[in-house]
């Protein structure tokens, strides 16, 4: 009689699992062996070259010397303190919101996992490890102690916010105070923006600061416009519908670069140059109008994904048309298309580099190109170092957004359907 173990197809069952895995997946046939060796060799060669470039041949002093220029452009040194204060406040703000969300999940019992100790640490590492590593890298490049203090301050503020945010709800405060707190929290980014603008006009925001703020402003502004366009496209009013469709199709049919160039030259025909908005403002307006058209199509897809029965149930309960939309249909529609929305926002974030080319503004990319023309670096082929650094910062930002969107999607999916 043969037992199951006797008939095991693997003669190597006494070997470690790793060996079995390699044999099965990498070396099963002759072709597999060949492919494994070939791709392994190419991969190693590429890795070797990257490693050699990053740690040996690259001359990172071009980035080190120009770090401030790349990050915030020609931001006046006497106002750098404002940026530091804003970053610390943003740390607190983000932490507080995180804490509030966490407390809400615990209260409603929708916190899908409650990690402790090592598991918690690896989860945090997976989420923020790359971001932290990048910050450390930039800190390592900096020559003064200011950035270190700033990073420590921001982290501390974030932790305090996280702790406070998770406790606020259980404090015996009047409902009016809660509402006031909510308003303050919502208004914080705008107040911080005004605080910075009051010192340095937005027209003079440069470097990575421009890319980050232009993307953030574009995302915030295009969102309501995109949702309204999506609703307009579904409207039963013919005029509203055709206007929405016309706008969406026009914008989606034009390259962003062309629109940016138009924003650069055409305004002078209509508006006296004294009244015309500055170039960075024009860029943000163009990004907003452009992304809104794409967002409208994404939201329309989301609206179509909500079953008709949802609207009918809301109607049957006597909800007004406005509330049917805002309380029942839209929340589900927007949730269903989170990945596509975030994808569009990531796209916008990277497209902000086009502003430098089209409008001649000084952003991270055009800054990265400009520094190679400085006297001490000209003609030394350092554009690669510069571009690698620029690309790396964008990649870190995009990748973190993408990861957090997947997480958000998972979280919001809890307990639904």
């Amino acid at each position: 009689m043969t037992t199951l173990a006797d008939r095991s197809p693997l003669p190597t069952r006494s070997r470690p699992a790793a060996v079995i895995w390699v044999r099965r997946n990498l070396l099963r046939t002759k072709l597999d062996v060949f492919l494994t060796v070939a791709f392994g060799a190419v991969g190693l060669l590429v890795l070797f070259h990257i490693f050699r470039f990053v740690f040996i041949t690259a001359r990172w002093e071009i980035v080190r010397v120009n770090l401030k220029l790349l990050l915030v452009g020609r931001w006046p040194v006497e106002h750098l303190g404002r940026i530091a204060l804003v970053m610390i406040t943003l740390g607190w703000w983000g932490g507080t919101i995180g804490g509030l969300i966490r407390a809400g999940q615990l209260r409603r019992g929708t916190a899908d996992f409650d990690l402790r100790g090592w598991a918690k640490a690896t989860d945090l590492g997976r989420r923020f490890g790359l971001l932290t590593a990048t910050c450390l890298l930039i800190l390592a490049l900096s020559t003064t102690s200011g950035p270190w203090l700033l990073a420590a301050g921001t982290l501390t503020a974030a932790l305090i916010g996280r702790w406070g945010g998770s406790k606020i709800r259980s404090m015996p405060l009047a409902p009016a105070l809660f509402r006031l707190g909510g308003v303050v929290l919502l208004a914080t980014p705008f107040i911080l923006f005004l605080y910075l603008v009051s010192a340095v006009a937005f027209a003079r925001w440069e470097g990575f600061l421009f890319n980050l703020t232009a993307a953030a402003a574009g995302i915030i502004l295009c969102f309501p416009l995109g949702v309204l366009l999506a609703l307009g496209r579904r409207s039963t009013l013919p005029l509203l519908r055709s206007l929405s469709i016309g706008y969406i199709e026009f914008v989606r049919g034009s390259p962003l670069y062309v629109l940016l160039l138009l924003a650069n030259v055409s305004l002078e025909f209509f508006v006296p140059s004294a009244l015309a908005p500055s170039k960075p403002v024009r860029a943000v307006i163009t990004f907003t109008l452009f992304t809104a058209a794409y967002l409208a199509e994404i939201v329309r897809g989301g609206l179509q994904s909500v079953p008709r029965g949802q609207e009918e149930a809301a109607k049957a309960l006597g909800l007004s048309p406005y509330r049917q939309m805002t309380r029942i249909v839209l929340p589900q529609a927007l949730r269903n298309v989170i990945p596509a929305q975030i994808g569009q926002f990531i796209s916008l974030f990277k497209d902000t580099t086009l502003a430098g080319l089209a409008l001649g503004t000084f952003d991270l990319l055009s800054g990265g190109q400009a520094i190679t023309q400085q006297d001490s670096f000209r003609g030394q082929g350092l554009i690669v170092e510069s571009l690698v650094f620029v690309g790396f910062l964008f990649w870190v930002g995009s990748f973190t957004m993408s990861r957090e969107s997947q997480r958000l999607e998972r979280k919001l999916g809890v307990g639904t359907r």
Partner: protein, 257 residues
């Protein structure tokens, strides 16, 4: 009390009339879904509507809270005629609860939020009061322990009972049930029917579209048989299941019993 002959007349209700349909027609493009529907429903009456699929049962009750717009005739609910006037429509919907075949609970809201949403937004009930009301309704449908869960975490029978609780929380004068057990697994049908029986016993005015003949026999005051968009025959359950008169009724009953 009405005489058997009066029960057979769709335009005579038992007691004070609360729902009135007069010469109602409804078209979907060129297809006529409702043909000259006349029906009166009295307060506290339970009317069960049966008939083959495609006979216009659902369309008829969906016209009563204007999820469908009728093309001709009059529909009056509790003294309010359904017209283009949005305020009238909203008022009728406030007084009319509806439960659907596919539950249509709001998946992004917890059970208790599903129930309190309309009372708070439409009736302006304060949160604390609305929560208490919701818990009462959940006790009535016998699942108070599920209040904090989300619809997706409940069984079909539980979801449908939440849907009933959600409609009841608006304290409607009339309840419309649109084949609410058709999407349920057999073992869950009874728990939903039990809730409906209790509701009927409490004096709620109900129009029930269903294929559950046992329920029709036990609970209905009147049974309405529809086919091809028309009301073919109306009568007491007794009359209906023992001595139906119309050929189409007999054919239908022969098929399903």
């Amino acid at each position: 009390m009405n005489t058997p002959a009066q029960y057979a007349d769709a335009t005579i209700a038992t007691g004070a009339v609360i729902i009135e349909l007069e010469h109602v027609d409804k078209f979907f493009d060129s297809f006529q879904a409702l043909k000259d529907i006349n029906l009166k429903v009295g307060r506290q009456e339970v009317v069960v509507v049966i008939g083959p699929s495609g006979s216009g049962k659902s369309t008829m009750i969906r016209c009563i809270n204007r999820l469908e717009v009728h093309d001709a005739g009059r529909i009056v609910v509790d003294g309010i005629e359904l017209t283009e006037d949005l305020r009238n429509i909203q008022e009728v919907r406030r007084e009319t609860g509806m439960v659907f075949q596919s539950f249509n609970l709001f998946p992004h809201l917890s059970v208790i939020d599903n129930i309190t949403l309309a009372p708070r937004l439409v009736r302006r009930v304060p949160k604390r009061e609305a929560d208490e009301l919701a818990m009462q309704m959940l006790k009535r449908v016998k699942i108070p322990e599920q209040a904090r869960k989300y619809p997706g975490q409940l069984s079909g029978g539980q979801q449908q009972r939440v849907a009933i609780a959600r409609a009841l929380a608006m304290k409607p004068k009339v309840m419309l049930f649109d084949e609410i057990t058709s999407a349920l697994d057999p073992e869950m049908i009874k728990e939903v029917l039990d809730v409906m029986e209790e509701l009927a016993a409490s004096g709620m005015t109900m129009i029930v579209v269903t294929h559950e003949m046992g329920f029709a026999r036990a609970v209905a005051n009147r049974v309405v048989f529809m086919a091809d968009g028309e009301i073919v025959e109306v009568g007491t359950p007794e009359h209906f299941f023992t001595s139906p008169e119309e050929t189409r009724t007999k054919q239908f009953l022969a098929q399903i019993l």
